[in-house]
């Protein structure tokens, strides 16, 4: 699949606009400065009283400062988009873009913060050191299996939500799309045979969430670049030492003891979730043709899916989803992460549990269902604005239920707060544009 004219145009604009604006986000005041006298309140001497109150109770930092609504988007630049290890500086424009989405769709103050950290311990240490300033952390574009170790350690250790969007975000949206696909094709999660093609961040997290949501681990088959994972594979001891997450999948999934490649895995399968690498051609038409009737096929590699969606449909798939916006059924993390943090921050959550991700995925699925499900519309789109406060309220409720919230509120209040905070972000953008503070892009003014 060659680059389209649209993609070329977007690249040209991205370069020109990035230079014109000199960055996508910045810090701007939230308080009035009527005269320099106000600094005696916002800064010294008045601010000392606020510091002392927080010193007495560190959780007050969520009430007296912007911590309640602040996250960092942290990357080591080791696996950025499809570009690979391009380093922290190279990752900065991507993290800025993510921060902008957080702000615009979720009302979250997000700092783009790529860091120079050479290994797991270095990255963990940086995030640990930043915890006091943040209400949460979005980890982004960190290579596998490093990302698993970093996420697991920080989730267990810190008392703010740590979210790795490439794992939990993608897996959450996959789950939402899958719930609706199963309903459309008359299936239940339990009993469906699901093939996970690729064993990187997204699919390892998807496998865990699928099982927690009710899938039978024996009905999952996971493939990596060497084929199907199973306990007696030649390299299994290597995996036990180098990638314990993949090793655990090899031991707990594949109840039928299937070995081989995509052909063997897909024979009689109901669902394919491919999150493996740039295609097309990684999965063949005849392999999808071996799946059960009314097959569900998710092809998530960007920018080019593992096989052409048209080929999957021609091979008999009933529902096909991709990561792209120019095909129906875009499995897009942006549907979830702004709402996840909106909800988590509104209750000052200490973590985002898998149960909360599953609850958010169900809400996302229910939202699409209310709008009407078809094989070409299994998920909401980013223009469905109401989805964000709705999912945020569910996230808040779930965090309270899970005992992870510092602050409790009713669903109505959560919905009201999320709607208001997201509304402020959108109104701010409108005001800044109308006031000429944010000018129109060059050539369009």
């Amino acid at each position: 699949m060659p680059r389209s004219r649209g993609e070329d145009e977007a690249s040209d604009k991205a370069l020109a606009y990035s230079k014109f604006y000199g960055g996508k986000v910045g810090v701007s005041p939230k308080v009035p400065v009527r005269s320099l006298q106000d600094f005696s309140v916002w800064y010294t001497p008045g601010v000392a009283a606020v510091s002392k109150a927080i010193q007495a109770n560190a959780d007050m930092s969520f009430e007296y400062t912007g911590r309640w609504n602040t996250i960092a988007v942290i990357s080591d630049g080791s696996r950025v988009l499809g570009l690979g290890d391009i380093g922290p500086e190279g990752a900065l424009p991507v993290m800025e873009g993510k921060a902008l989405i957080y702000n615009y769709l979720g009302g979250v103050n997000a700092y783009p913060l790529p860091v120079r950290a050479k290994d797991e311990a270095g990255l963990i240490s940086v995030v640990r050191a930043l915890e006091p300033s943040l209400g949460g952390v979005n980890l982004e574009d960190i290579e596998s299996p490093k990302c698993f170790e970093v996420l697991d350690t920080l989730r267990a250790e810190l008392t703010i939500p740590i979210w790795h969007d490439d794992q939990q975000g993608t897996a959450g949206v996959v789950l939402a799309g899958l719930f609706n696909s199963l309903e459309l094709t008359g299936r239940k999660l339990r009993g469906s045979r699901i093939v996970l093609f690729g064993a990187g961040a997204a699919n390892v997290a998807a496998a865990r969430l699928l099982v927690e949501a009710g899938a039978d681990p024996g009905d999952l088959v996971v493939l990596d670049s060497k084929g199907i994972l199973y306990p007696e594979r030649e390299d299994i001891d290597q995996l036990s030492l180098r990638n314990k997450w993949k090793y655990d999948l090899a031991l707990t999934t594949n109840g039928r003891d299937i070995s081989g490649g995509a052909k063997e895995a897909l024979e009689g399968a109901d669902v394919l979730i491919a999150s493996a690498g740039v295609g097309p051609g990684l999965i063949k038409k005849e392999e999808v043709a071996g799946m059960n009737d009314r097959a569900v096929v998710f092809l998530l590699a960007n920018p080019v899916p593992e096989m052409l969606p048209g080929d999957a449909l021609a091979a008999g798939a009933e529902i096909v989803a991709t990561g792209r916006s120019d095909f129906p059924n875009q499995v897009n993390n942006s549907l979830l992460f702004p709402a996840i943090f909106r909800g988590a921050l509104d209750v000052r959550a200490k973590t985002i549990t898998d149960a909360t991700v599953i609850a958010a995925a169900k809400e996302l699925a229910a939202f699409a269902k209310r709008k009407g499900l078809t094989p070409k519309r299994i998920l909401p789109t980013m223009t469905d604005w109401e989805v964000y406060p709705t999912v945020a309220a569910t996230v808040g409720e779930s965090a309270i239920r899970e005992g992870q919230a510092r602050k409790k509120a009713s669903r109505e209040d959560l919905l009201r707060t999320a709607t208001a905070v997201i509304g402020v972000a959108r109104k701010t953008m409108d005001a800044l544009r109308k006031g000429g503070i944010i000018p129109e892009p060059p050539g369009q003014g």
Binding site: D237, Q238, A250
Partner: protein, 156 residues
């Protein structure tokens, strides 16, 4: 999944046991390049295993039904200068991953130790790569302590 039973290896087990021995050697290679496994390891392992049975070394397997899922091999060695003199040396110990984490290793070590004691061993010694922390933990947890360290380098 059948519960594995520990028994003496027979000549019929040779191919399966050889496969497990090679897996163990490949695992060692994960810890140090000095354990690079030779290309014809499987053939050599078959001879090694059948020779061990013929020489009446200790060779126990864990079998789940007809499937061999674990092996422990040991032999007697004499120490010329130290007392106690007779050592039961565990040279190979491997269990397939799906049969780990269920005390089978403990059971096999117990049975191997008893067998070696009956053969006259006065101390039990196990050989593992220094970097294999899982094995080190396995033995230290069961009262073993590090006795000899091998230092290796390629000659200049």
């Amino acid at each position: 999944m059948a519960v594995p039973k520990v028994r003496k290896a027979t000549m019929a087990d040779v191919p399966a046991v050889a496969d497990l021995v090679v897996r163990a050697k490949r695992l060692n290679n994960e810890f140090d390049p000095m354990f690079a496994v030779v290309a014809d390891a499987r053939e050599r392992a078959k001879a090694y295993v059948s020779d061990s049975i013929k020489a009446r070394h200790l060779l126990l397997v864990a079998a789940a039904g007809t499937k061999v899922v674990g092996v422990v091999r040991a032999e007697l060695r004499e120490r010329i200068f130290y007392s106690p003199e007779r050592t039961g040396l565990i040279t190979d110990f491997y269990i397939l991953p799906e049969f780990r984490r269920r005390a089978l290793g403990h059971d096999m070590l117990e049975q191997a130790s008893s067998g070696l004691r009956r053969m006259g061993a006065q101390i039990i010694v196990a050989e593992v790569p220094s970097q294999n922390e899982i094995a080190v933990k396995f033995y230290t947890k069961r009262g073993f302590r590090s006795l000899v360290q091998h230092f290796a380098k390629s000659p200049q």
